[in-house]
Symmetry: C2
Subunit: 341 residues, 2 copies
Amino acid sequence: MDCNEWHLPSKPSPLICASVVNMADDLPSVLVLGPPIVFTYYERRFSENFHFLKPWESSIPLHEFLTTYAGSVKAVFDSPKCPVTKDILQNIPELRFIMTSSTGVDHIDLHECKRRGVKVANVGSIFSEDVADTAVGLLIDVLRRISAANRFVKAANWHQKGDYPLGHKLSGRRIGIVGMGSIGLDVAKRLNAFGCIISYTSRNKKPHLEFPFYPHIQELAAKCEILIICCALTDQTRHMIDRTVMLTLGRNGIIINIARGGIINEKDLVECLLKQEIAGAGLDVYENEPNVPEELFDLDNVVMMPHHAAFTEESMRHVYEIVVANLDAFFSNKPLMLDVI
Amino acid sequence: MDCNEWHLPSKPSPLICASVVNMADDLPSVLVLGPPIVFTYYERRFSENFHFLKPWESSIPLHEFLTTYAGSVKAVFDSPKCPVTKDILQNIPELRFIMTSSTGVDHIDLHECKRRGVKVANVGSIFSEDVADTAVGLLIDVLRRISAANRFVKAANWHQKGDYPLGHKLSGRRIGIVGMGSIGLDVAKRLNAFGCIISYTSRNKKPHLEFPFYPHIQELAAKCEILIICCALTDQTRHMIDRTVMLTLGRNGIIINIARGGIINEKDLVECLLKQEIAGAGLDVYENEPNVPEELFDLDNVVMMPHHAAFTEESMRHVYEIVVANLDAFFSNKPLMLDVI
């Protein structure tokens, strides 16, 4: 996704021009790219400590903005919405620090950062619990039809139509975790307490885990009824969950995706759901957000969220604190928390 | 609730008359009261082993039906929809066994059964896992706004309206379990794995549990943000959760009820939710089912189900197996499973 496409206003307002050019105060300048969601919630408080350059409020293209206003900026606050490419880095040659609001750093050209002596820090695994909670919530919702039941009751159908269809049991089900990082582990811990039978695939077997490990997704799908996608999106994982995997999972199969949309072949997923070749899906992420497959809108066995698995008031507060602490540390020449390089 | 009000057709059909009077086969006769939901799903298979008398398919009042057709019946298959009172028992003097489709037996006059030498069996705690799963699902749904988010995405609002409001974190929250029986324990086990801080109230402290115990609901509410109602409905627990408890829980308070509607003062609950004196509720049960408080229909922070926490295809199958095994045992003079008296 090109960050020029994101929240770009049609023309600059007086306020926007002021925010771009007013660097008269003594606060350290930080270029914001994305912008991170936490910035929209905490901008006022962030602004007590830093002066922010906000290219999305400007009408000029990003590259021109960078050369015009940000050529001397030393710190960037970024989200995965705006990849930090070699090209962008060339336009801000004085840059020494990138703070990303995410756990993943695959949107940043780390090789070029290292070459230029740019430090990078992320927010660690602070989203893992919230994302794992959402994965479990989506799974229970799909199995027990909670969203659809809520709609049924609130449409005053219970009194009129009588009994509601039965759901399916979670406890004791065979769950395959795809990617046993911090989020995958938190999902496994939770579902283990429901009496589920956990197994997983991951880049490597985790020697400290007793859950069965299958190196290939096809093997995992053959052993499970439910797949929970928790891995990073890479060249290796893109479209890893395709029609073949779904057919192996079978007619009782359920897929939960709280990772990245591109890990699933969305066209295949829509086809398998419409043909009832799998039983349901809980989706927080999509291949082309915020566009989602409209063919799924009428399916009660598909529960959809708007890429929100990580976003709670508590996690935003935590991200805010880490970002402020790291930017403070950078501008004070103190050690960074959670530095990646 | 009077079982005469439940599913009573306006006039008997030829099929109905046949089902009442056709006792020509040699199968043992069982009077069905309620009827249990499992009976509606498994009637055909049940009928391979037993001949059923179904008063709800008759146009005559229950008492008349009992004296006319069921005076000699030895076994009843019942659900909590139809209380087995002293009055009913007097009309079926040959009765020797009541099989209820529920865990609770508070709808059966056990004292009178004992006096008359009528054995009673229930289905044990087979619903506990499904009910506990639903409690956790409702809680995550309320905190993370899953049902509302699903509606938001499926109404094509994400693209148009942009970011969705933040939810609230589950992990680490202070949870109070009201009633530490089989279901309460299953809820506690699950939420413990989410890193929640569990405490409970119950008739008695459970010596084998390390979770803090508070003998009074007010003490528990003062220590917690979330109450999960898992106790039986008794004279002591009726309206136990009232406005005083809710105000003690406070503005961040959430109440989940998967037990019985009458444990909560529903009028107080509606008032506290409308005035935002508590933060939300997840409700599977209501005081006057299937009537539900319509004032809650527009609240995204209230997630409602139609008394379905226990009902999965798997639990129905399990109930079917236990009921058939127990009726078989009774008619063969073999020991009953899960007999209560």
